[in-house]
Symmetry: D2
Subunit: 287 residues, 4 copies
């Protein structure tokens, strides 16, 4: 067997893989899926307010970090298991599947008690030991692209997951590094379109980490939808100015609601409904 | 006076500058403007067929290079003045303004005989002598972003033009370099959204050079429209496989027509008509 | 405590930390230290021939990978523990300390049975769980710079190790990614000089991975020495054309001997002996 | 003829081209050549003091900018012709050839009255009109690498000069852009070593612009010498804190003298004398 990817590649005529995320939510079909929530889980009130807000605005999956990979050992490192419990409880109440980042194999047992979907973060995209362990954990995976990694390396990281036994993988573009540091990262939307051609896996876009700037999140969310992405992962915080992590890029609930309203017509323009609205449309309903 | 830009910056509440491109076409208002044509002008048949096709599909401005900045001295360097004449004739017949790249100040007299809009290419974005000379030439300018230049440097290059006396400047994002060379360049759409906030100048996107791959041109064109760009610059060639320059990224007339058809609903979704359709809409017409 | 580094920073007048690597070898003092060996441990003959050759040429530490972080799941993944045993045996016979990469915390117990120094690879520089676990393992660490990571992030990764309890950290520059992919990576020697100013930790250079091209290894090794690096990590293979990993950048034993001979006068020019030759010099001996 | 370089490529066994720079100074042979002077020519006293200092310390060529390509139109743009006159006078008195940057073809007549060597700056490396004009001007050329350009593009820019009739071209590496903006640019010394293999043209290194930081200039100068560069271009200013351009990277005369003293033994270690010392060595003299 050569060192090139094969299980992740789209064969001629092959449809995008539909990945079940829990509570009936599926990504990769015609429905566009929105994952939203705070960067870091901080406490009960923050989690519940955010969950209620994103659910109300139409998000399909609740995200939130309990184990945070922080550049500095002196930055807030996350609530750990208590955070996961808050996340699960909020998701359970609202019937939203939940996703959270796993940083190492030892965290897997506790993660599996709480989350529907495992996220592998950008800094761990080439942590091959983690990829192998997560592949055996039996849960769908959101695999973020490393900010210093090529499209081909991203494909091969996904190949580790498929080869290890986990077919349900969602790729998430979150920006790469370039010489221009005006924004936090350079969002590679052409890479998303390229990936949609090359792989049968669903691809989503994170307009929050990639730009690092609140006012650019909605334009990039709309651009991602127009470019053919299968979904979005968006950071929302009830009081961004008080966030313990990445406040400048978090949307308020109001701004997130605006994003969702702006998104619907763009999706309609490219022939895709929001997930869950295919049926309503089919039976003549409207959101 | 400090070394920071000021004339190009958007003041609070300031509207985007409307730049007249000729034959009544204006960019920067609500109407979205499409510039299209071949990378290089190659001969009468090629120019006329392309011009007819892009006009038929709804493009507003005809583009084509007569003086080509080529990496190798042994590559096709462009037809020169005879190419400009073909471009002008084709534009005249179809009542389309024409744009072409000027590589140095000595070319300006001949350029001014033929073109409505002067383009400064990516490799010359920081050719400050050229910027000063073009600023005095009295024609609107399309200023491409250098593939190795920051957003701030791009702003300051435009400042040279405004400070030199030319207020009618259109910024064109055409991709930057990053470590990932899977595609020709990395299209920086978040940079476009950032620039729209920061400057009152219109910003367009070139999805052809930035991706270098035909199949990605339409997805990136739609993404640019969704992100808030004021227009597009697209390469079209009647027989891309025979093009003397950049064939792999050129759309056929048929593909370009598909792009224009896909574009209309995305523009509608973000509340912008194609240029020239505001009126028809206002009087009850439809395209 | 702020999120900025502090334990890794060089205070005014502070000397470079001397890190003991085993068998009496110390790095960070006046003596320049050379770590050499194969990219991947492949079998007994390969390990023993390489070890004998690098020892003969004057290397101080034997390196070799048993657990290989490979971009593709279908590439050779390393011999695992049997490889470590070969490495330890070869080092023991020649009285050379040995260094090998640890990819995850679960490998630590077996690693500790065999190696004197733990290496954290470029892809794991921001695997913070691994950094914390390695910090508690009680062995000196070589911390490679991530190819997509800034100098400041590299400092903060080292801070995780010092903050976690391991003061003996050696930083290893191995090239970063840039838009120019002519060579495998872009070796950042100015970053090495910057780091020597900013941190009290010893800094070494890997001219093999950074260039990916055999003929450039010696020039970059000499440049590193002239720039003020404290040592080198060099890949050597008895038959590079048959190597299971990274053959094109491996030196043959003969070429490595040439590197060591060329290195001595450059080190003398910047006032540093090879490690182990300070004493001989002091007592009037010569190599 | 294909679009690949040929006149600049080193044929098997071909020696490096020796480029005459004026006043008997030649670069590309065994002698290492140092070009030094201020970033911008500012006035008589500054030019004369700098010239005397760099001559005293052993530099071979005097550099200084009269036409400055500045990112902002509001930054100091250079003294123009009066600056060139100061440069020529200072060089004439000390019998040092002088080099200065030409920004466009219209400046050539005045430049030719004053300078021995024409410099093409990083921002104009792909200003092909300028390359063609300079190729016909009959003077040796220093061609700086564009900070966003690949090694292959640099080769092809030099090919424009040779193909246009000027065989005496010196390549100057001055740093490229990467995601890490800690330093001004990323100095690509491995690219220098690669270029020495690939081309027969002499290659020099600018440790001033590449690092942007005074304290790193000498380490990078030594590294360049060890890596096989044919010379250096270094910025020196009598009072860097008062410099009108790039003060933070300028060496004082004292620091420059230190650089030259540190350079000699490194050059000796790689078997190269400073230019002009070959003969003294040959007749038994020492500097």
């Amino acid at each position: 067997m050569s060192a090139t990817p094969n299980q992740v590649l789209r064969q001629a005529g092959q449809r995008t893989t539909e990945v079940p995320l829990g509570h009936g939510v599926r990504i990769g079909g015609s429905g566009f899926v929105v994952l939203a929530g705070p960067c870091a889980l901080e406490g009960q009130e923050q989690v519940e307010r955010t969950a209620a807000a994103v659910h109300h605005a139409g998000a399909h999956v609740l995200r939130g970090g309990a184990f945070k990979p922080r550049t500095s050992p002196y930055s807030f490192q996350g609530l750990g298991e208590p955070g996961l419990k808050l996340l699960k409880d909020a998701g359970h109440r609202l019937r939203l599947p939940v996703v959270s980042e796993v940083m190492d194999a030892q965290q897997l047992p506790v993660m599996l008690d709480y989350v529907d979907v495992l996220q592998i973060g950008a800094r761990n995209m080439q942590n091959f030991s983690l990829l192998r362990a997560v592949a055996k954990a039996g849960r769908p995976v959101v695999l973020k692209r490393g900010f210093g990694c090529t499209l081909e390396e991203w494909l091969l990281a996904a190949e580790y997951l498929l080869d290890g036994g986990q077919p349900n993988v969602v790729l998430c573009e979150r920006g790469i590094r370039s010489f221009d540091n005006t924004l936090r990262n350079t969002l590679d939307l052409a890479g998303v379109a390229w990936m949609k051609e090359r792989s049968h896996l669903p691809v989503i876009v994170d307009p929050s980490h990639s730009t690092g700037q609140r006012s650019l999140v909605t334009p990039m969310a709309l651009a991602a939808a127009a470019a053919g992405a299968d979904g979005l992962m968006v950071e929302v915080h009830p009081t961004p100015e008080a966030a313990l992590c990445d406040g400048p890029q978090a949307l308020t609930p109001t701004l997130f609601e605006g994003l969702m309203q702006a998104l619907a017509p763009v999706l309609a323009a490219v022939g895709r409904p929001l997930f869950g609205q295919e049926l309503r449309r089919a039976v003549g309903g409207a959101r």
